[in-house]
């Protein structure tokens, strides 16, 4: 029983990581209607920037917000310089650009900072919540930060004119332009925001998985699963999806162990964690293609 609780707690902690990255994926989808495969690597790069700032002697939180700001600007610049010329290009070309960005971020980070893993500090106090063993202080901190970012995004998109304009620009560029929205800039802004959210995710993740240029590769896979499960168009759903995937994979391993102990046969276990979790995701998507909490998009032809 103790193990079950520990596994759920650890699943929630992992889920927080997935949720954080899923949120960044949703951000770019909501504001540009694309899925950015380079999201993980951009987040990793931002994390390196903050690490470098900390190495230069800046306080953690100063480095944190500075890195978020730098990422925002970088995101805007990437959109303006790299993606702008491709506005009318077919989707495939854009996907290729995303993959190119992924490779570039990865290699540049490796060249500049080397591929050796690095420690990344946590801003949260050790064991202050008195629940260490069940869930670490940092893990709890990640959950809280994820929820705060989610709330901020929700408020931004729901209640500010700029948020509304961004949603309009993504969903129906032509009508938005007719209504006076500067669609080009909205897209750039969306990229900036997504890069900033990604930076937050990276900085939260790095303490747990350690900082290296490939730290996001595995996580992005789970984050995609979480985002799709919850609904790629719904930030809240994506966060919930992330948590569900995290807990689900641990429960699969736990149940597999229990079965092995009880019946003496190995059916599922650690090796099948991801497989089973993804099968469940696919099942959900087959039954409900827009995800558990996604909005069903009806396009008039």
């Amino acid at each position: 029983m103790e193990q079950l609780i520990q596994q759920i707690a650890s699943g929630l902690a992992n889920g927080a990581i997935y949720a954080c990255v899923a949120l960044a994926l949703v951000m770019i989808f909501v504001s540009t209607d694309h899925i950015n495969f380079a999201q993980g690597e951009m987040a990793m790069f931002s994390t390196y920037i903050s690490w470098q700032l900390i190495q230069w002697g800046l306080d953690y939180w100063v480095a944190f917000f500075l890195a978020v700001a730098i990422s925002f600007v970088a995101g805007v610049l990437i959109e303006r310089i790299v993606l702008r010329p491709l506005h009318n290009a077919p989707l495939l070309s854009i996907v290729v650009v995303f993959i190119g960005l992924l490779a570039i971020c990865n290699s540049v980070a490796g060249t500049v900072w080397s591929y050796l893993i690095k420690e990344y500090p946590t801003p949260f106090p050790k064991d202050v919540f008195g629940m260490s063993g069940l869930i670490g202080a940092h893990q709890l901190g990640v959950v809280i930060v994820t929820l705060v970012v989610l709330t901020l995004l929700y408020v931004f998109f729901r209640y500010t004119p700029l948020g509304l304009a961004m949603r309009a620009a993504a969903q129906n560029p032509v009508s938005a332009r007719l209504a006076g929205v500067r669609v080009d800039w909205m897209l750039a802004l969306g990229w900036g925001l997504a890069a900033a959210v990604g930076a937050v995710a990276g900085m939260m993740v790095a303490h747990i998985v350690y900082l290296d240029p490939n730290m996001m590769a595995g996580i992005l896979l789970y984050a995609f699963a979480g985002a799709l499960l919850g609904g790629i168009s719904n930030p809240g759903g994506a966060v919930l999806g992330g948590f569900i995937v995290g807990v689900l994979e641990n429960l699969v391993a736990y149940l597999g162990n229990a079965i092995e102990k009880g019946l003496g046969v190995y059916i599922i276990g650690n090796g099948e964690k991801l497989t089973v979790a993804l099968i469940i995701v696919i099942t959900v998507l087959t039954l409900k293609p827009s995800g558990l909490f996604g909005r069903v998009v009806v396009k008039r032809v």
Binding site: S114, G218, E249
Partner: protein, 409 residues
């Protein structure tokens, strides 16, 4: 010069005209050569991941390039310059096949030296043996490289994982009271090699393994597995993980208050990239096996080998990380290759190269731990089979006990 003249005299005194012709040729050339070697040059091929998921190992290729530059600056191998051709395979087996074929069929190298990776070398294993290209001193610890009967052209270098697993098993049985062993294992050939070694070493006590949890390289964390291992009530922990997961598991075990006798595979013993990130306070008393001198270990600060290595790093490999043990590995394995080539003398044929590689006797290689030497024979294709156990104390590894050896199956 002397040998050439003697050859000429010998040829001239013979009555057969055929022999005289051979002697004339011997005069034109100093030695006997296969493709890739000549009076002035030896071509060596190498593959390494400079891009992709394993690119952290790219430093090995760069360091080896630097090593051969030093060799060439100091006169080369028996007067021949070494041309070291290193290509990127991105740690992707199909790519390895492609670049190795390029090395063999276009560059026409004499031999392949230290190609990196278990899956990558597996992909070219049959090809190089079919082509009879020496495939020497691989950068992988899998036990399958020491099989001269079926693969007479392939030879590993470092202590193999199987041997190391056997040694841990022996130590656990001798030192842990009523052992209950938990194993965390990367779910691939590398992990299985270690695990099989442990099982073989335990022999009839194999039932003492109470829990065996695996992880995939795509798993973001191994938290869930460590919880399972703790829950099994084990008092000994064999940790078969690569650096990132090693650091995670050491920290996680400490966080949930699990304190078993902890055995960590030698793949992940770097102080800079594993022990420090895991936290020194969490890493105390972990046991591992090592065969190389760790540059971050202060006990070697006044060691002559280490000083020579540091001087070489400063001159030929500046900008590389002096805390990275891969640079030590590259230096030591290149030295072994250099010695083997030297032993070939003027007969730089592929067959002779394999013959010399299989007759290294108590070769002292710089930066191997004291008491460990390189030994091979026509039936023993495992150059290094000894290790010393070390325990993590304070901020570095402390060697203890004697040199331990084991013959691998």
């Amino acid at each position: 010069m002397k040998t050439t003249r003697r050859g000429f005299v010998g040829g001239a005194s013979a009555t057969a005209a055929l022999l005289a012709g051979g002697a004339a040729q011997a005069q034109a050339q100093k030695g006997k050569y296969d493709e890739g070697a000549s009076d002035t040059e030896i071509k060596i091929g190498h593959t390494n991941p400079y891009s992709g998921p394993a690119s952290a190992y790219g430093v090995i290729g760069k360091a080896e390039e630097a090593y051969w530059r030093m060799v060439n600056d100091t006169g080369g191998i028996n007067g021949r310059k070494v041309k070291f051709i290193t290509l990127d395979d991105g740690y992707s087996p199909p790519k390895t096949v492609e670049v190795v074929r390029q090395l063999v069929e276009q560059e026409k190298v004499l031999c392949l030296f230290n190609p990196l990776g278990t899956p990558t070398n597996t992909a070219i294993h049959k090809y190089v043996n079919l082509k009879k290209i020496p495939h020497l001193f691989l950068s992988t610890g899998a036990s399958k490289w020491g099989n001269p009967k079926e693969f007479p052209w392939t030879m590993g270098w470092q202590p193999d994982y199987h041997t190391e697993g056997v040694i841990y098993a022996k130590h656990i049985l001798a030192n842990v009271k009523d052992p209950k062993i938990a194993v965390l294992m990367q779910n691939d050939d590398y992990g299985k090699d270690y695990y099989e070694g442990l099982r073989a070493g335990l022999g009839k006590d194999v039932g003492k393994i109470v829990k065996h949890a695996t992880y995939e390289v795509t798993d973001p964390t191994v938290d869930s597995q460590v919880i399972q291992l703790k829950d099994s009530g084990a008092n000994a922990f064999f940790n078969i993980t690569t650096p990132k997961f090693a650091a995670q598991s050491i920290r996680r075990a400490a966080e949930i208050g699990w304190k078993p006798a902890h055995y960590l595979n030698s793949v992940s013993v770097s102080v800079a990239t594993v022990m420090k990130p895991a936290g020194f306070e969490n890493s105390q008393n972990i046991i591992t096996a090592s065969y190389l001198k760790d540059p971050t270990d202060k006990q070697f600060d006044n060691d002559d080998d280490m000083k020579a290595w540091r001087a070489w790093m400063a001159k030929y490999n500046p900008g590389a990380n002096v805390a990275d043990i891969n640079n030590v590995f590259a230096y030591a394995v290149s030295y072994t290759m250099g010695k083997t080539l030297e032993q070939c003398g003027n007969e730089l044929t592929r067959a002779n190269l394999m013959k010399q590689a299989a007759s290294l006797k108590k070769l002292k290689v710089p930066l191997l731990l004291p008491g460990i030497t390189v030994n091979t024979s026509p039936t023993d294709f495992y150059p290094i089979q000894s290790v010393r156990l070390a325990q993590f104390k304070g901020e570095s590894w402390e060697l203890f006990g004697e040199v331990m050896s084991s013959e691998s199956a």
